[in-house]
């Protein structure tokens, strides 16, 4: 079974904390596929766990790796990667 992987840079100005972290976790739960997240070369944690995501201490500009063992979840993983890369906390016009 192939593990899918995406490497992205955290776009949220406050890092993966507070609201951006909560948004990611909600999106993972909604996607309904097992997804893990971690910094490169560090252990992966459950991306559906808010406490684990907060414990990553991923700041704006940090690289993170998203993985799923579900080989058919390529599109879902793309969407999650885009979410992490976006600055979802910004209110801009």
């Amino acid at each position: 079974m192939s593990v899918l992987e995406r490497r992205v840079t955290v776009g949220s100005a406050v890092g993966l904390h507070a609201r951006p972290a909560a948004r990611l976790v909600r999106a993972v739960v909604a996607a309904g596929v097992p997804v893990t997240i971690g910094k490169p070369d560090a252990p992966q944690v459950n991306a559906a766990s808010i406490l684990s995501v907060l414990s990553l201490r991923a700041e704006c500009g940090d690289q993170v790796v998203l993985q799923t063992p579900d080989g058919s979840a390529s599109q879902a993983l793309d969407q999650l990667a885009a979410l992490v890369a976006n600055n979802l906390d910004a209110e801009t016009d």
Partner: protein, 545 residues
């Protein structure tokens, strides 16, 4: 004799009342676990009950409080937390013991992550207490009764505690722990309740003692003398007088009226407390960023009604969903566009999903009909007079009287006269207008010189839109970032802009800047800026002028 103890003042103001200490019931010891699987079932049930209660409170709250309570419900349902608890039970711990160990393991890694997350640890303690208390059948007070106006003193205040307080009877808040960015501080500030946090010595204050809290100075005085109370009240009066020196509707020094409005997303409760004439930009997409499904009609009516209630009697300009580009919404399918800023975004989404827009307009119309707020609606990313006419027709059919469009595409500004035949007002989004006028991505810091709001070409577009409005006596406002710059605001007024909408926190400085200039002066500054070679020179000319 009075004694003074110090903490960090996080929310200015004076509170003088008797102390009310919030204490929690001690929990009885838990029984030994016979079967880990059964024990885990009861723990899961308790977690679910706590999470459901949090969500119920979240639904009754607004703004940052809703987010905080929702996040807490998420923590209680955390699958990794459940895993650690299950492992503890299997290792022979009691249920409350396993819960404690699990929370402790996460507390440690969060506490090590710096001050911001460390302050969330206090919230974890609260959640642990709530789950264990539920498990052991200890009742958690849904509402904390406060008979007289009091100074509330607690080790720390968790969001759920604040949600259960009758805040109209809270004169001030003092916590022994917590920091300047903790939830107690955030909530007190947003509700304008005087507060001092991180005041360890407050632990010694007895229930019922008279307390004087100065949320500016960060002092807590026990048994204050009459002279001390009078001095504090005097300080507070001069503080508020200073802020109120310029207040009320915006105007130049010679009385030319400029509407000062706020930009809001989900934080409408706190924004409504700011001295403004209402809302110039209500970004509805921020209410639904997390949504997977299209929010239902009823849900939308409820959400808009809550915002309209906060601004009862005032103006509220609602912008319809601005999905796409940098603000994707999960319930609006995204195609792989190579250039999203130039793709299907804003009003263009309605070409493909017309019911998304018509439902939203109907929901806004329904919420407006039951509110005293003066509600108008405007569409983002309108490019042609035809699109403007179409939007006006749809909005009027939904019962909305005042209808406008955003001016953020240069093509629309070039035909502003024809657009203004159809719409009641224009609202200029300077950030996008600059991005499209200069063909420069506003997110690219390397191009920031091109998207500088001082660029004379952008100012010319603004002037053109404002002049078209003046021709037919219809308002033309600015709701982009430029509106909140106290240096640029007089220039915009000089160009003929009739209203400025900005982040609430920026409003007092803009109001003061306008009060300092005559309309003639504003016009002179705008001529200086228009005649400059580039953005830097324009700014320099206005600073020197």
């Amino acid at each position: 004799m009075s004694t003074v103890v110090n903490g960090i003042g996080v929310s200015p103001g004076i509170g003088h009342a008797r102390a009310l200490r919030l204490v929690r019931a001690a929990l009885p010891p838990d029984v030994a676990v016979l079967d880990p699987a059964t024990a885990m079932d009861s723990v899961s049930a308790a977690c679910e009950a706590v999470a459901a209660a949090m969500e119920k409170r979240a639904a009754q709250s607004t703004g940052s409080m809703t987010d905080i309570l929702d996040a807490q419900a998420m923590i209680v349902r955390d699958p990794s937390l459940a895993e650690v608890i299950r492992a503890g039970l299997e290792a022979g711990h009691t249920r409350t013991g396993a819960i404690h160990t699990a929370f402790e393991s996460f507390s440690e890694s969060l506490a090590a992550a710096g001050p911001y997350l460390a302050e969330r640890v206090a919230d974890l303690d609260d959640l642990e207490y709530r789950i264990s208390a539920t498990l052991l059948g200890v009742e958690l007070a849904d509402v904390i009764r406060i008979d007289d106006v009091s100074v509330v003193i607690a080790p720390d205040l968790a969001p759920a505690d604040v949600a259960s307080l009758d805040l109209s009877r809270v004169a001030a808040i003092v916590t022994q722990q917590g920091g300047a960015t903790g939830h107690a501080a955030i909530v007190a500030k947003s509700l304008a309740i005087p507060a001092v946090v991180s005041c360890a010595d407050a632990a010694a204050i007895e229930d019922g003692a008279w307390i004087l809290v100065d949320g500016q100075a960060g002092t807590v005085t026990v048994d204050p003398s009459v002279a001390e109370v009078e001095a504090a009240v005097g300080r507070e009066r001069s503080r508020t007088e200073l802020l109120a020196a310029v207040s009320g509707p915006g105007r130049t020094s010679d009385g030319h009226r400029v509407e000062l409005l706020t930009n809001i997303g989900t934080e409408f409760q706190s924004a409504s407390k700011v001295d403004s004439e209402g809302v110039g930009l209500f970004r509805t997409e921020f209410m639904f960023l997390d949504r997977v499904e299209v929010p239902s009609f009823d849900e939308q009516v409820a959400a808009y009604s809550a915002a309209f209630r906060a601004f009862a009697g005032r103006k509220v300009i609602v912008r319809t969903l601005d999905a796409g580009s940098d603000k994707p919404l999960r319930f609006v399918p995204q195609r792989g566009e190579s250039n999203p800023a130039l793709g299907v975004r804003g009003l263009r989404v309605a070409r493909e999903f017309p019911e998304l827009l018509s439902d939203q307009l109907r929901a806004i119309g329904a919420a407006a009909s039951e509110s005293s707020a003066k509600v108008s609606v405007m569409a983002p990313m309108v490019s042609t007079p035809d699109e403007a006419v179409e939007f006006v027709t749809l909005a009027r059919a939904a019962g909305i009287e005042r209808v406008g469009v955003m001016a953020e595409v240069p093509a629309l500004v070039l035909r502003a006269d024809e657009v203004l035949e159809a719409v009641d007002f224009l609202s200029i989004g300077t950030n996008d207008l600059a991005q499209y006028a200069f063909a420069a991505d506003r997110m690219l810091s390397g191009l920031s010189e091109l998207t500088d709001p001082w660029q004379p070409a952008l100012l010319i577009l603004i002037e053109r839109a404002a002049a078209a409005g003046a021709q037919v006596g219809k308002p033309v406002g600015v709701c982009g970032e430029a509106a909140g710059d106290p240096l640029l605001a007089p220039v915009l007024v000089g160009l003929g802009v009739t209203s400025l909408s900005m982040a609430p926190v920026l409003l007092p400085a803009v109001r003061a800047a306008l009060a300092d200039r005559s309309l003639e002066d504003c016009r002179r500054l705008s001529m200086l800026a228009l005649g400059s070679r580039n953005g830097h020179a324009a700014r320099a000319a206005v600073v020197g002028g």
